[in-house]
Symmetry: C2
Subunit: 196 residues, 2 copies
Amino acid sequence: MTSRIPPRSGTAFKLQKGQLLTVIDPEGEQVSDLVAFNAIDTAEYISSGRSIDYASRLFLTAGDILYSNRSNPMLAIVADEVGRHDFTLTPCSRDTFRIIYGDTEPHHGCQGNLERALAPHGIGPDEIPIAFNVFMHVSVDGDTGEIAVLPPKSKPGQKTTFRAEMDLVIGMTACSAGQSNNFRYKPIDYRIDAAP
Amino acid sequence: MTSRIPPRSGTAFKLQKGQLLTVIDPEGEQVSDLVAFNAIDTAEYISSGRSIDYASRLFLTAGDILYSNRSNPMLAIVADEVGRHDFTLTPCSRDTFRIIYGDTEPHHGCQGNLERALAPHGIGPDEIPIAFNVFMHVSVDGDTGEIAVLPPKSKPGQKTTFRAEMDLVIGMTACSAGQSNNFRYKPIDYRIDAAP
């Protein structure tokens, strides 16, 4: 069964060890900020810094592992039709819209959506880390370090599949930031399958 | 007065709003992992994801600001003789040495040194974020995302100065990882000056 995350919203759910989470971009060019916590001890969380260090690569794809801050595997990327995601930026927030977009009445963003979705799991605002930003296309200039947020490479229906390497709480959004999704705020779909 | 962090060790101290922290590489080619917390509420911490997003640049230098997870300015880089630092990797740890270096009796690394130094300030192991890795030289291939840890560009005596934008607890190390410092484990010096 496929579930839908409506535009500019978020959700959270348990994912058991071995289960497969498939993130689908139903209309194309949309981003989903994905965070993960150890379901037994939510002080253990997905860590971009550990994962990038162990992969020796900023851009992770099929075959790569998303590690926790305690260096334990949390999610393995087992299939990836898009091949480009970001793992350097925090979820967009009220402050993102204020600072980057100059909005005077800023949207609460993916940060606000994750806060709402994760609160019932006992996870507070300060515990939301740098997300694995599924389908987010951030270009990097290796000389200057300049980054630019470009439209995602995902075409309608394309998907990426993760396998849980421990029991997890997952937070996910349909991204609220215009730069991330070419200023068309679309939904995100996902599916959970039993271990094969 | 200049203080010295001996090779493969760490320290922590309070830095008052307006004070200047100068990090000095006395012998050249050494790295200092620097983390910062709001001294009043240590759940607020330095955030690479927010800082990189607001700068639109991976490599931060003089004129840039290191933001917190709550999007408040924590440190401003006010002078920088080296100009190349890393803000994507977590402090090296027992697991780093096991996974990347294949050590069978791994050193506790900067993570262990920061844990020991920050414990008296009530900051636990899981709260240590991605560090601002002063003088760390990580090359990035913009096409593939491949990263490589290269010898720092810092020459003996070169320094970088930060101004505290709020009252802070600072954790700092003389890095324990061979890749970071060209396999010569050297000290790091630092100096605290009153607001000019």
